[in-house]
Amino acid sequence: MLRFFYKNMNRTLITYWKTNLLIMADLILCALMIFIMLQNYSFALEEYRRYYRNEELAQKYSIFSLYDKEQGDPFDTNSQMYEITLQVKEDIENSNLWTPYYHLLCFFPRSIFVDDLPSDFDAQFASIFQQPPGVTDVGGLMLSEHLMTIQNIRVQEGREFTHDDYLTGGETCAIIMGNDFMPYYDVGDIIVYRDREAEVVGFLEDNSFLEIDELDMCNLDRYVVIPRMFFLDDNESNKEDSFLLINAGILSLKDPKTDVQEEINKITSKYGWHPIQCTPFDGSAYSNTGIVSQKNIALLLFLAIVSGLLCLVALSNILYKRTMKERPTHCTMLLSGIPLWKINLSLIIEMAFWTSIAMIPVVTLSYYEFGQMFVSPLYILGFLALIVVLSMVPIFILNGKTNLDVFMRSRNE
């Protein structure tokens, strides 16, 4: 019973090789267009959701204090306000409405590191400080407690920071190094800076990133991550922490409906401290970009649909012409006892074969470029299958109208 399918598909593969090449090229082109557009669509959508959707982004607020230095610096340890500043900091830190975090970029002199550390480790700072290669500082990042958890920065080898690592007053500070330090350091190695010891407790995963603000990311592969400024004394360290939290801190809300400004106002008015301004990470500064981004997403989807329609028209045309040529053969088959549904099914199997072939370049391209499929192959296959099925509808109608009476009366071969 399967002999017909085998023979018929063999026949059409060879007889209509030019048409088949056209069909294949058409489907491959369509699959690629759909793939590129769906991929860009998914990238754009992800970006859009990440930066511009209020319900996602209103969960984070940056805070900044509006104090007048002429009235006294509240972060000066000698000022009367300093104790209050520490209270404000503590209240913000201990609130159960949010998780606060902050970071600080710092630099370590090259001399405290092993000699064989390549000079290009500090290339980015060389340009900033106009230092010659080889003597430039190495980048460090002080990440407050919870930041690594919130931003999903993970350790590949060794351990993550514990709560104790963030407490001041310890003898030896734990540090975690970026992945590129792995050939030069081991867990347990000690680095000495300003007579203070720091112990390497782990290495970050390759390609770890720190989200600095809404738009900037920092690759951590060549950074040394510290939990506190261990090279400062406790007072200095506390002062820096207070300044950083109140002037550059970020609050990650536990409940997105929290009125952050109101809650912060309650804290500042409680102590008569300076106002603190809260700014949501909702992309309000980029609202125009958000609209453009939204339009781009719609445009990409529209282009994918138009490309699909163009492919549908082309494919339908090619298949229709091929089927017109095939009509006498179909009549002969019907006369020989082969039912029409089998003739149609044979065409469906053939088109399924070409559709699956058309997926190969897409999958290859995606794995070659990205090492994975960002868009599920099933989406592309589904889109392609829809186009193929629609392009076959006229063929089924044409086959359904096959008139053997006319065929019998024809006198030509």
Binding site: M1, R3, F4, K7, R11, T12, I14, T15, P328, T329, C331, T332, M333, L334, L335, S336, G337, I338, P339, L340, W341, T402, L404, D405, F407, M408, R409, S410, R411, N412, E413
Partner: protein, 217 residues
Amino acid sequence: MALLKLNHLSKSYGKDERKTVVLDRLDLAIEEGEMLAVMGKSGSGKTTLLNIIAGIDYPDDGEYVFQDAPVRLRKTSDGVRFRRNRIGIIVQHFALVNDFTVYDNVEMGLWETKISQKDRHIRTMEILDQLDIRSLANRYPPELSGGEKQRTAIGRAIVGKPRLILADEPTGALDDQTEHNIMDILTKLNQDGTTMMIITHDEDIAKRCTRVVKLTK
């Protein structure tokens, strides 16, 4: 014993003023083992008659009985099922699939049967031998002469051992010598027990049949 009977069979084309009655209350019976020639002028309804018997066209009125069972067909798929293993068809223009070899064209008549691949091969080779076209098994129809093509078409029509062969001008496109050879083959098939109905304009062919029916308008 009658293989098939047509009782008061009518068929017309068109409607109202343009209506053309092709068959008007036709009564006809074809006996088992008979070789019937159907003659008539153009438009007399010969091909219409053949198409109705083959299940390709449907009568407007009357009764069609095949092997004592009434035949009522309304769709192409009904006709395909009805013909399978009952009726083989030979047409003037051969109706071969040009992209299949001679072997495949003949074997095609067995593709919808439930016999094994091995038996299918044996049966196909028997037919190729019987029609003396075994040496052409791997050739394609465009490489064949008219006689070879018609023998291939006959092979496809008889490979499934049908009860009835319907031939519409089977020698219409052939020269005299080839016509003679083809008629020899059809006569031999009839002598072996296959019932046949041949539509022809040719008196010589009609004379080789056991009975002649002439259709008039």
